[in-house]
């Protein structure tokens, strides 16, 4: 939806440098040609996203097993999102994951940025950046499998605990009803920190060094410097980081699919996993579609809200 507006105005303004065209008493002409330019992109969007989205919305109003005839049930599938305890908790779990996927990485990355940016001339900085960004590059199945090994009863974490005499704390982290969801969440934190840090460091690099100098002359300490210069200057990057990580948290599927399959019990089930499972395994296509639609709506709303942090003028 934003694409047509954006390209239309940019074409307008490029031809509208003389004031006559902009102001002239004549009716504004619709630049049909402009729409021609976006046609290819729009066709792609419509075929691969638009049509399936409308179809999903349609399915969500039916009770259908994917094969036989379907029955119209109106908004019943949506009602079940609130009355079915498994579905309700899947959305709550996604909320918990936002904390691990978005809040922890952003806060930690800000803290690290404050430290690293002071040693701006650190040697081998690009190497560190690459290393920190690595989790984002590794395929998620590999990440998940690695963490399954780390969390396993004889895995790295339990070995470390035994080493320092905390053997009583050891457990199957992904198999324990109380620790499974946080355990999945921490994998998300690990994934997110590098991404956030790289974003923030590039943001800090854009701040005029004079600003820091001025602050120091005014007697600001490291903390004051961070809150009065670094943090406000990073608003744009924070918004981007939050958007990416919150969306990642809400649509998590691969990690849970590989590590726990929603278990133990239903303690790590998530909306995206439920949508998949209902559509392809348990023959509840309508319910799956309703989950998908609600999830999409939540992601859209959250993204719009996060954009409010973004400064009005972004370079």
């Amino acid at each position: 939806m934003t694409a047509p507006v954006a390209s239309a105005t940019s074409i307008n303004s490029s031809g509208a440098n003389d004031p006559r065209a902009r102001r002239g008493g004549k009716k504004r002409k619709v630049e049909w040609k402009a729409y021609l330019y976006i046609l290819p992109a729009f066709v792609l969007f419509a075929v691969f996203l638009g049509v399936p989205a409308v179809q999903t919305a349609q399915y969500s109003l039916f009770k259908w097993n994917g094969i036989g005839p379907s029955t119209w049930v109106g908004l019943k599938n949506y009602g079940e999102l609130f009355t079915d305890s498994v579905l309700r908790s899947s959305f709550l779990h996604a909320g918990v994951l936002i904390f691990f996927y978005a809040v922890i990485p952003v806060v930690l990355a800000l803290f690290l940025t404050a430290i690293i940016s002071r040693g701006a001339n650190l040697r081998g900085m690009s190497v560190f950046r690459t290393l920190l960004f690595l989790p984002q590059v590794v395929a998620s199945v590999v990440v998940a499998t690695t963490w399954v090994a780390i969390y396993s009863p004889d895995g790295l974490i339990n070995q470390l605990l035994r080493l320092v005499g905390l053997g009583s704390l050891t457990r199957a982290w992904l198999g324990d009803f109380d620790t499974a969801l946080p355990a999945v969440g921490i994998v998300g934190s690990w994934l997110g920190i590098g991404l956030c840090l790289v974003l923030f460091l590039s943001g800090v690099a854009n701040i005029q060094p004079e600003l820091f100098e001025a602050a120091r002359i005014d007697g600001a300490g490291p903390v004051g410097e961070f809150f009065s210069i670094t943090l406000p200057a990073l608003r744009g990057q924070i918004a981007v980081a939050l958007t990416l990580t919150v969306v990642a948290a809400l649509k998590t599927f691969d990690l849970v699919y590989i590590t726990t399959r929603g278990g133990p019990g239903t303690s790590t089930t998530l909306p995206a996993f439920e949508a998949y499972n209902r559509a392809f395994n348990t023959g509840k296509v309508g319910s799956a579609a309703a989950v998908a639609i609600l999830l999409t709506a939540i992601i859209l709303v959250v993204t719009v809200l996060i954009q409010k942090i973004q400064p009005d003028e972004v370079e």
């Binding site: 097993n65 379907s70 198999g175 009803f177 499974a180 399959r261 929603g262 395994n281 023959g283 296509v285």
Partner: protein, 455 residues
């Protein structure tokens, strides 16, 4: 164009789209009769008459032993009938489960597919008119006499897909499988224990093994399906064949009946007393199997399909037994036949498809299966692996379970389309003492009652 007219227009367009979308319901809104199948036409054994044919086959024979057998059988079939080319699509069980529905409902479905028994898969395929009844071919090729009745029943459905184990035959199976108890001969011998034959004998030796400092049962349930097996064999041996079969097929009974609750209690006791691996919900099936394979536990409960792995790790020390109810000679245990080889209604060459299915399931195929380390659905009468080996145990237990009216109890997740999720999650909660046995049973019953009501 002003902002408000634009909004109105957008709204109108989306409303129109929505209306258009709801106008035609997915999959058709009325209960259309399944397309009349072609069984009226004559069926024939003549494959050559079909001319050049490409037969598309979807199977789930991806494990080493069965994959080798399948490749060999396909090769032999194509040598026998040079006019037929087999296009094999092989997927793991769970991949097949998630994609088969889409393939069957597409315009150009495969000719032959392996369909899982029970209501979630075969039942819904049949109700959608996607599978062709094979009764005519069963007569033509003599499947109806070659396979034992309890095996054929597993592959039967009424034409509307509502009643399982009666009505039309929708496929035959290649392999047999039962879930049972693998035991370590050495450990039992050292503790002076006999091989258990009934659930009570089995339970009675768990404290002895535990007291010796040995883990009785290696158990890992992170994949969730092993939970169905451990509960399945316990319930089968406690409640008996008829009660569980009636329950799973939806004929009578409830999951809250006393024997089923008692089975749940039994498993919870095993967990709290440390008879099964601690933190089993975080341990994979393969880890548990490896633990048993290293001689660190006396038993592991799983299916005959793990036989090649156990032989590799424990060799001659391994044995296999299927448990029965007290005072019964016939074991009663979870099991069945491999996925049914079914013909799709969309297949243009049902005669060729049936010839293929016969070729890979008949007595000659059984020998190929055995040669590659598999358990055929109908073992040759003269098949006798060396006594005292795991192979001999598996073969004899399969024969015992199939003798007379048999002791096969269907997999419990066949009960309803959502039962796999419900039951597997509930067993994890049961072993972690998040549910009492009664609550466990009620959770299963809730799913079950809802399905029966909707049928």
């Amino acid at each position: 164009m002003s902002r408000s007219t634009k909004t109105v227009r957008t709204l109108a367009v989306s409303l129109a789209l929505a209306l258009a979308a709801t106008a035609c319901a997915p999959g058709g809104s009325t209960t259309d009769e399944p397309a009349a199948n072609s069984s009226a036409s004559q069926v024939s054994k003549d494959v050559s008459a079909a001319g050049d044919v490409t037969l598309t086959v979807w199977d789930q024979n991806t494990d080493t032993g069965i994959n080798d057998a399948q490749e060999e059988l396909n090769k032999q079939f194509q040598q026998k009938y040079p006019n037929v080319k087999i296009e094999r699509v092989s997927r793991s069980f769970s991949d097949l489960k998630t994609t088969l529905k889409l393939a069957l409902t597409s315009k150009d479905p495969p000719d032959v597919v392996q369909a899982n028994q029970g209501y979630p898969d075969m039942g819904s395929f049949v109700s959608g008119g996607l599978l062709r009844p094979e009764d005519d071919y069963a007569k033509l090729y003599g499947w109806d006499s070659y396979f034992p009745e309890q095996q054929l029943n597993l592959n039967k459905f009424t034409a509307d897909g509502r009643d399982w184990q009666s009505g039309n035959l929708y496929g035959v199976s290649q392999t047999g499988e039962i879930v049972g108890v693998y035991y370590n001969r050495k450990i039992l011998k050292n503790l002076n224990l006999q091989v258990p034959k009934t659930i009570t004998e089995f339970e009675a030796m768990l404290p002895t093994i535990k007291a010796s400092g040995m883990l009785p049962i290696a158990y890992g349930d992170v994949e969730k399906s092993p939970g169905i097996h451990i509960y399945g064999i316990t319930q089968a041996a406690i409640a008996g064949k008829q009660a569980v079969t009636d329950l799973v097929t939806g004929k009578s009974g409830a999951w809250t009946d006393e024997p089923s609750v008692k089975a749940a209690q039994t498993i919870q006791d095993w967990a709290t007393k440390g008879y099964i691996t601690e933190g089993a919900n975080g341990i994979s099936r393969d880890e548990a199997l490896a633990e048993f394979g290293k001689g660190k536990s006396a038993f592991v409960i799983t299916g005959t399909w793990e036989q090649p792995k156990v032989i590799k790790s424990l060799g001659a020390d391994s044995g296999f037994v299927a448990l029965g109810p007290d005072g019964s000679d016939t074991p009663v245990t979870t099991g069945g036949v491999g996925l049914a080889w079914a013909i799709t209604t969309g297949s243009k060459h049902p005669d060729v498809a049936a010839a293929y299915i016969d070729f890979i399931t008949n007595a000659a195929a059984a020998q190929v299966l055995i040669d590659n380390g598999n358990l055929p659905a109908v073992p040759p009468a003269d098949w006798a692996p060396k006594a005292g080996t795991l192979q001999a145990d598996v073969a004899s237990e399969w024969k015992r379970v199939n003798a007379g009216s048999g002791g096969l109890v269907p997999y419990l997740d066949y009960a309803t389309p959502t039962f796999y999720d419900t039951l597997s999650a509930a067993v994890q909660q049961l072993t972690a003492t998040k549910l009492t046995p009664q609550q466990f049973a009620e959770q299963l019953q809730k799913d079950y009652a809802a399905f029966l009501k909707s049928k």
